[in-house]
């Protein structure tokens, strides 16, 4: 199954070719976009294959697992790959249309490609050490992208982002060392087999906590989330959109992967803890968003609060709850990225992200307002958009699992999400600009071809939000397939350790 290598190789090659044309950003733009697009195509084929024929694995260099390095794709991995590459294509298109030439000079395109290599690698890798390496590739690219604009705000945001994320990486590395000492392997499938046969599971739970801290930090879960609202509103809009869509979700994915495959010795403790973390994350995020008036800061706090929903769904550890969490993950990646892209357009049109300095966009651009409203209401969970079904599945799972308080909090936080979204829509779109405030559009705001082309990726993602709402049963069946593979990882283990391709 050589197809598995393509999503990693293609962006890596594109990045390398981009570096050859360092001095000509115009050429880099299209090389890099073809890299993003071709990897999207290869992921579509992989997705089709895995959904129809079950998990696949490849042993690099012919060395059989658990000795060799391997790549694995199960349903969860391909769902994540598909959504992330779709978002990657849209954000890339957007970044081309915004024509930010100073950024392109600093290597925006090759860095975007290496970021995608890290993200795809994290989803596909079959051993924990390569997961660490993929994480670091992703991290170093994101550091560079974050600080490329090189202003005061960006550098300070980058420092805060780096400080906590590096500490998280070290925790992850320490966990890998201890896990290797315990089980003598770094292959995930092999670890799943060996950890289930462990004499003393308490040690495994203790190691699991190291990983929970590391991934909780990446996923911006309570109490490790403070780096996110301090940094996500600082870079240019295309970069903050791809961060918002992909990076924290990779953290959630790894929590799901590790605590479904490796650390399942003491579910009563670990998964309960994840639920508690989720509830606190949800509430902390929503409280943080209340007092904010910067659009991207409000959205950043909402990223935190929605990570909470996913953790709750996963921690409940029933098939419908996990499927709901995956559905939520997919929906959130798309809706959140789109809102960040729309925030970029607002900034382009009126020169600010602050709600006090923008206004009246509905009169100026009614179609754009509707695209924004679709994503905003989708995020808040208004039927028939995708967020409504994401929440309904989680609420149903919570009721079936007998957790009325958690369900009540989920509904309550959902209500506050709606209030925040209405706050943005009211102040930026409906109300005219405050008296005495002069709006200063950025270059290109009066050029209809720039603004209209920026609408293309936003339109695509908004359509996906609507389609996911109407096609919710189909998407949910897919998520259920992924959830069943997580609850019973024998297919995953068989794909890696038995047979092979």
């Amino acid at each position: 199954m050589n197809l598995l290598v393509l999503p990693i190789i293609i962006p890596l090659l594109a990045a390398a070719v981009c570096l050859l044309f360092w001095k000509t950003p115009a050429l880099q733009r299209w090389i890099s976009f073809s890299g993003t697009f071709l990897s999207f195509i290869s992921i579509c084929i992989l997705f089709w294959h895995v959904v129809n024929y079950g998990p696949v694995a490849i042993h690099i260099g012919g060395w059989q697992a658990p000795i060799g390095i391997n790549l694995v794709a199960d349903a969860l991995a391909v769902i994540m790959l598909l959504v992330c590459s779709l978002v990657g294509v849209c954000v890339h298109l957007y970044s081309i249309f915004t024509r930010n030439e100073t950024l392109e000079k600093f290597g925006h395109h090759p860095l975007l490609q290496t970021l995608l290599v890290g993200v795809y690698g994290s989803f596909l890798t079959g051993d924990i050490f390569n997961l660490y390496v993929s994480f670091e590739i992703m991290l170093i690219s994101s550091f560079a992208l974050l600080s490329a604009a090189n202003g005061k705000l960006q550098i300070e945001g980058a420092f805060k982002y780096m400080a906590l994320n590096l500490f998280g990486s070290f925790m992850f590395l320490a966990g890998i060392g201890i896990l290797y000492g315990m089980a003598g392997t770094v292959n995930m499938a092999d670890l799943a087999v060996k950890m289930s046969a462990l004499d003393d599971p308490s040690m495994a739970t203790a190691t699991g906590m190291l990983f929970l801290v590391a991934f909780g930090l990446k996923a911006a879960a309570f109490p490790f989330f403070s780096w996110l609202p301090a940094s996500y509103h600082t870079p240019p809009s295309a970069i903050s959109a791809i961060f918002a869509g992909l990076l924290t979700k990779v953290g959630v994915y790894t929590v799901m992967r590790f605590f479904s495959l490796i650390f399942v010795q003491n579910i009563g403790f670990t998964h309960e803890l994840i639920v508690v973390m989720g509830v606190l994350t949800m509430i902390a995020g929503i409280i943080g968003a209340v007092g904010q008036y910067d659009i991207r800061k409000i959205l950043s706090f909402h990223i935190v609060s929605q990570i909470g929903y996913m953790l709750i769904g996963f921690g409940m550890w029933t098939e419908i709850a996990i499927a709901g969490a995956i559905f939520y993950l997919v929906h959130n990646i798309i809706a959140k990225t789109n809102l960040f892209l729309a925030a970029g357009v607002i900034n382009r049109l009126q020169g600010s992200y602050h709600l006090d300095y923008v206004g009246g966009i509905y009169r100026q651009r009614p179609y754009f307002s509707i695209l924004f409203l679709i994503s905003a209401l989708g995020l808040a969970g208004i039927p028939p958009l995708s967020g409504f079904f994401a929440k309904i599945f989680l609420i149903k799972a919570g009721l079936l699992d007998g957790r009325p308080i958690v369900v009540f909090l989920m509904v309550f936080v959902g209500l506050f999400t709606l209030i925040s979204m209405i706050k943005i829509f009211e102040k930026a779109f409906w109300k005219p600009v405050k008296e005495g405030v002069e709006i200063q559009p950025l270059p290109g705001a009066d050029n209809p071809s720039v603004i209209n082309s920026m609408m293309i990726p936003i339109g695509i993602l908004a359509v996906v939000v609507v389609l996911m709402g109407f096609g919710a049963p189909i998407v949910f069946e897919l998520c259920k397939l992924a959830a069943s593979q997580m609850l019973d990882p024998s297919a995953y283990i068989h794909a890696v350790l038995g047979g092979g391709f």
């Binding site: 050490f129 660490y132 390496v133 670091e136 991290l139 170093i140 550091f143 560079a144 600080s147 090189n150 005061k152 705000l153 550098i155 300070e156 945001g157 980058a158 420092f159 805060k160 780096m162 400080a163 590096l166 500490f167 990486s169 070290f170 590395l173 320490a174 890998i176 060392g177 201890i178 290797y180 000492g181 770094v186 301090a230 940094s231 509103h233 600082t234 910067d294 800061k297």
Partner: protein, 116 residues
């Protein structure tokens, strides 16, 4: 040997965390570097320190015929050192830029992102 190393790792780790909790961001970066070293040592210690030969297979045989030391932890640590080195270099650059832009190393004074 392993217990002695465990104590050493503990001390380095504690020193690193202590430095990271200071308000001075230069000390913070030093702390981060120390924690990184402690973690590399932890991989080394926890994956079993054995006094055996290098795992070299004799040209005429297909398998390893004698007991050997495990080379994988060393390979992992080497990778981790390289990655950690790169990240640390980048962190120091950001540190320098922060100092150039703000003329300040106290975290209490670096609150621009929270106020915007």
């Amino acid at each position: 040997m392993q217990s002695a190393l465990a104590i050493v790792i503990g001390i380095i780790f504690a020193a690193g965390v202590f430095l990271m909790l200071r308000r001075n961001i230069v000390k913070f970066v030093f702390g981060l570097a120390l924690v990184g070293q402690a973690v590399n040592l932890a991989i080394f210690a926890s994956s079993g320190m054995t006094r055996y030969h290098a795992p070299l297979i004799h040209p005429e045989s297909l398998y390893l015929s004698y007991q050997s030391a495990d080379p994988l932890p060393q390979a992992m640590i080497l990778t981790a050192i390289v990655i950690g080195f790169g990240l640390l270099a980048f962190t120091i650059i950001i540190l320098l830029r922060t100092f150039q832009l703000f003329d300040e190393v106290d975290t209490d004074e670096l609150q621009m992102v929270d106020k915007s």
